[in-house]
């Protein structure tokens, strides 16, 4: 597993919402191992189906440059349809961002295998790349 480059923290804050199953490993451990950047704010929910549109928007309001939800693969969700619900809310949030003239690629849904670390690291990397491409949202 390759380590993230140190300059990732200059890119801007990324907020990830995930459930207890998608990140079974402590994020502190991942951070210490250099697998996720310092600027990653991990918010755990009992299930990603609990995510609300307002929480995704609030994250941007609080200074996030990108926000993503890491939910279980649809056939692995502990609550059967939680991650599917989350996907729809991410979709709705994309629409609202578009209406605000903010690139909808700044928010994303990722379906990841339960208990695996690499998909989360890949998702962080993907969002980091997007931020670098899209430029700064915040002078906010």
């Amino acid at each position: 597993m390759s380590r993230l480059k140190n300059n990732s923290c200059q890119v801007g804050k990324i907020v990830v919402f995930c459930c207890n199953y998608t990140t079974s490993v402590s994020t502190d451990t991942l951070r210490e191992a250099g697998l996720i950047p310092e600027n990653l704010d991990v918010k755990k929910l009992p299930c990603t189906g609990r995510i609300e549109v307002s929480a995704l928007l609030d994250a941007f309001e609080q200074g996030a440059e990108a926000v993503f939800v890491a939910g279980c693969r649809s056939d692995e969700c502990h609550n059967l349809s939680g991650s599917r619900r989350a996907e729809k809310r991410v979709g709705y949030t994309k629409r609202l961002l578009e209406e605000l003239d903010i690139d909808p690629d700044r928010v994303e849904m990722f379906f990841v295998h339960r208990g695996e670390t690499q998909p989360i690291v890949d998702a962080v990397r993907e969002m980091t790349t997007r931020i670098a491409k899209l430029g700064q949202l915040h002078s906010i």
Partner: protein, 222 residues
């Protein structure tokens, strides 16, 4: 219930362009049930507006609240005073709530966050359909409970038009011809003699064409 949907954000942002302190006010009546103006929608809209204004370099102070109903005076009472702390109150109620605030709280600049669309039923999660037009002269006893005023594109009273093909309406193949359904239902219930009754030209005055409507029940008046 009354169905409504949120206005586009740019329209709302334009409405509140000069506003620095805003109250986003939801309603736990119909608009909460149809997921247009309840607590969750208040939270999402307030966040979106804060984000939009922050992006535009004009931050805004937004408070959030939701009343039990905005169409009853007892629930609106606190707003008369509390509302004065804001440059505007963005109501997420249907048009009734917005009008009632405007009537009852003249000192408050009330703005609509929703477009009120129709009286409808919840078909499934996230899907609503018009079922009643509030025409004030119900004929459902003649039509097997299916409303030709609300559910026929032409509001016809005496059977389908020539555009009904294979049980579908000519305006859109996804729309069932309600007169086709009425005929089938009455026939299956052996009530087809009702179809022979010629319904006279509709008097549209009870539907609002005679001016704003009012209902009074004397025994309940204070």
């Amino acid at each position: 219930m009354i169905i409504a949907e949120q206005k586009p954000l740019d329209e709302i942002l334009e409405m509140i362009s000069g506003v620095e302190r805003l109250l986003v006010l939801g309603c736990r009546g119909c608009v909460a049930v149809c997921s247009a103006g309840g607590d969750k929608e208040v939270g999402a809209l307030a966040s979106a507006l804060r984000l939009g204004r922050k992006k535009a370099g004009k931050p805004i102070e937004i408070d959030e609240d939701t009343y039990v109903r905005q169409c009853d005076p007892e629930y609106l009472e606190p707003l008369e005073e509390d509302g004065k702390r804001y440059d505007a109150v963005l109501s997420m109620a249907c048009g009734v709530g917005v009008n009632f605030i405007a009537d009852r709280c003249p000192g408050i600049n009330v703005l609509p966050a929703l477009n009120t669309t129709f009286y409808g039923a919840n078909l499934s999660s996230g899907e609503w359909a018009e079922m009643c037009a509030g025409c004030g002269a119900c004929v459902l006893h003649l039509t097997g409970g299916l409303c030709p005023v609300a559910r026929c594109a032409k509001s016809l009273s005496n059977g389908p038009c020539g555009g009904s093909v294979g049980g579908r309406c000519e305006i859109n193949k996804d729309v069932p011809c309600i007169w086709h359904q009425i005929c089938e239902k009455l026939t299956s219930r052996k009530q087809h003699q009702l179809l022979r009754e010629i319904v006279p030209i509709r008097d549209w005055r009870p539907s609002g064409h005679g001016g704003p409507r009012r209902r009074i029940r004397e025994d309940l008046l204070p």
